[in-house]
Symmetry: C2
Subunit: 517 residues, 2 copies
């Protein structure tokens, strides 16, 4: 299985159907396929060998999907770069994966100089923007125009397809490695779970560099239906696009869903085309879900729980979102394991706990990653006897429904982004005035969770909120920086000298229906 | 991916749901899973090592599905034996695949002595019948009762899952090798293509030893729904079972479908539960399809075209079976490539022919077999550059819809003109007095080959050579009309319900230097 087969099928069967819509630009599968085959040839001509990594640093666009299919068509491997990242974070992922080519759009040109200055192996930069290519960059459009279309390289099966960098528990991002086989499983599972009837116009508004976005794009390619691209999330523009393009399918993180339904002009648009809404990536407040379902009465809601390491692991279908599901509490569950997948709730020794008790959720199936790039120890910790250890605490009812209740890994999910406490703590600890610190999740009405730092200053040292925030911002992405900071005399420690984060969290989470502790 | 994960998921989530129904016997997923884990342990205790082949010689039953999952659970590989075969054919497949254990039901006990006398390696025989186990055979039930349940052996991915023997063009059967990955793709593709809504009660009446039957069983296991088993095809019993068990899903070959809708008691049963009908494995006469759709107005019809080597290759969905599809001719097509699959129509040099022209259909996708067991030359002929060569003649329209014209080897070349049997058969079948027919090539001194028709009249109907010839001449060119016609009481059918054209041809070609078979 090569993911490009899905595109070949559309080029053959529905060449004149619309493949991509980005602002005013519409391209058919024939046009899209031609550009992909040319881009593949162009990438080969500038040195992409089979298995070589090619990065993309850009917002969602039709070019992003051309990059995705073009790299695969030419035999390469994707390294989709998180657009929120600072230069050191981007450079880490490029160096770690030995990425040889990096495509950059207009939004991230200002990162190029920094990357060039610090990357171990300076990549070839391709400019995929609207204007003239800057000096020292090759133009995406010029490359495509000049290239000869090549045949599909037919990389398939267990061949590498992508490396997706995600926050690392040790403070460094980890590259999650997927093959064409695992991506195929992630896509076709989701399509079987949430079938389309030959009518699917999907609006990709969740970022494509995340598994959520890339997985949804795979579904759309396998089904051979239309992709509409939103560069970034803007509630009004999403509403307008649904009406204009007759969008049927949306995948949103809860914060986006909330912004959508609470937008003052929500009632001014005809959203009657919308059929299916998948939400996930972070916990949703019951009030948001209920309000969304009331606001979009004709829409089938599905909760997808998953992660970069496995795509969708469980799925809570529309039938659990009705009155019955709300009464039984199933509307608050993450649903059952997706087709072909088994999940278990286990104790620290890997033994399954009795139903109803909390343990770590583990996942096994055709969708699970091959491992972490160049990180055998982290891979061995995450994949034990073929089981992916999620680090999430969960309980399971008698019917196999999973309820995510806790996070065992020290991680904060803020607005759909994973933030590892260790990474933020490392950055804070570098400040000369800091003696000790702990970073925890606190509840946040808009983002689900927010990053909160508890800091102990060195005796006599001066440091305030603004100073610490500036310090953090120079090293890490904005979404990772503490939204609130609390200065204390000391941190509560266990007998073994570990920071008792539960004690730090408790006052913040008291009275919340969903506890993260 | 191990196919047993699908079963694990059901044991966990719906342990009390009905897994199998066979005559009066109903077992839940908990019971079925327990028997599977015990059978796996029993098979290991009598010598089944990881990757060992285990055969099943039996009609459809719940034991057949226990065999399927039990062998996989214990780490073995299936060799499902064609029940129509003679002892030499069975022994050939056992010897070729080095099958070490053979399960036999009551219907095939009479084969055991012959197999024991001639197999190179005499397998351990397990008796899976209703009575006492014969001497020298181990009892299936006693094994399960005495065994300790074992853990799933977790064979997965590219590990071998089954060897399905299929007729060989050289006269010897070929073992089609599938892995857990390819079977997973065959099952999940079909589920995505013909989704169930948590309500699927499938009646398995097509033989499970064929890809059609085993593929349908996989879908049911992945979806986690109920399997109802019919030992053999009996139209009245099928009608009765649909009513009694609330069957929603049926997969039938055209001869079975025809027998069902023409059964004198068809109107005596409530078939209102039936939702989805998949037909395939051989061409269907338009008149049969139209009559079936009229007789079952609430049922969604899907045509699945495929073969042992790849499961489903194309799929013609319900929307092409409506009035519009009949008007446009799409109801007669095999549909488009299934999700993730690409098909092409090529000439003898492997070059794609223009749309509308006839060539050989080739298939590429995650569902394609690994190859033929121990037959590198036949594998190389069938799999060229990753493309499976089907040997079927087809044409493709501008929309990627495939029309199967005929088995290339069944094509009749008469006076330099190509005649496709299916076309002539469709015309003959339209005659109101015709119940069934087959068109074959017979030797002809002047034209090389001549078109010969074997026809079964409807009971009590009048039809002679002249009348049928006039009928044909009014629809097709003279060279396509049968030069000779033979009336019979019945056509010889394979276990899968396919007309055995080879048997029809043999007497005509005996003593000829060039054989068409």
């Amino acid at each position: 299985m090569s993911m490009t087969l899905a595109l070949q099928r559309s080029i053959q069967a529905t060449p004149d159907a619309v493949a991509t819509v980005f602002h005013g630009r519409r391209r058919t599968f024939r046009e899209f396929g031609d550009r992909v085959a040319r881009l593949a040839g162009a990438l080969q001509s500038i040195g992409m060998a089979p298995g070589d990594r090619v990065g993309m640093l850009g917002v969602n666009s039709d070019h992003w999907l051309e990059y995705m299919m073009g790299v695969w068509w030419g035999g390469g491997v994707l390294n989709p770069v998180n657009t929120r990242w600072s230069v050191p974070e981007i450079v880490y992922s490029l160096d770690d994966s030995d990425t040889s080519i990096l495509i950059v759009d207009d939004h991230f040109l200002h990162r190029v100089e920094g990357i060039r200055a610090s990357a171990k192996r300076v990549p070839v930069f391709i400019y995929a923007g609207a204007g003239e290519a800057p000096r020292d960059m090759v133009s995406f459009e010029a490359l495509i125009a000049a290239a000869t279309p090549v045949e599909d390289a037919d990389r398939a099966g267990t061949d590498l397809a992508c490396i997706l960098y995600t926050g690392g528990t040790t403070g460094f991002p980890k590259g999650v490695v997927h093959s064409h086989w695992t991506l195929w499983s992630i896509g076709i599972q989701r399509l079987a779970q949430t079938p389309m009837q030959g009518d699917g116009v999907a609006l990709h508004v969740a970022p494509l560099f995340h598994m959520g976005g890339i997985g949804r794009a795979l579904v759309q390619f396998i089904a051979g239906e239309t992709h509409v691209l939103a560069a970034t999330f803007d509630a009004r523009e999403v509403l307008q696009t649904i009406e204009r393009e007759g969008v049927t399918d949306l995948l949103l993180v809860p914060t986006m869903l909330q912004a959508l339904i609470t937008h003052p002009e929500f009632d001014c648009f005809d959203l009657g085309s919308l059929k299916r809404m998948v939400y996930g990536a972070s916990p949703i407040a019951e009030s948001v879900l209920e309000r969304a379902m009331a606001a979009l009465p004709g829409v089938a809601f599905t909760h997808s729980y998953g992660m970069t390491e496995c795509g969708g692991a469980t799925s809570n279908p529309p039938e659990n979102h009705g009155a019955e599901g709300r009464a039984s509490g199933l509307s608050r569950s993450a649903g059952r394991a997706t087709f072909g997948v088994v999940v278990k709730v286990v104790d620290a020794n890997g033994q399954e706990v009795p139903r109803g008790e909390v343990g770590e959720l583990i996942v096994r199936g055709p969708n699970v990653m091959l491992g972490y790039w160049n990180k055998p120890e982290e891979t061995a910790r995450a994949l034990r006897d073929g089981w992916l250890h999620t680090g999430d605490g969960a309980r399971m009812d008698a019917g196999g429904h999973v309820f995510i209740v806790d996070r065992l890994k020290d991680m904060i999910v803020s607005g759909g982004e994973n933030v590892y406490s260790a990474e933020v703590e490392n950055v804070i600890a570098r400040h000369p005035a800091v003696q000790a610190c702990a970073v925890i999740a606190v509840p946040h009405a808009q983002w689900g969770e927010a990053v909160h730092a508890v800091v102990v200053r060195k005796p006599g040292a001066q440091l305030d909120d603004a100073g610490l925030h500036d310090h953090c911002r120079s090293f890490i992405a904005g979404y990772k920086c503490p939204k609130s900071i609390e200065f204390r005399e000391a941190l509560p420690l266990s007998a073994a000298g570990k920071v008792l984060k539960r004690e730090l969290r408790e006052p913040h989470w008291a009275g919340q229906s969903r506890q993260v502790s």
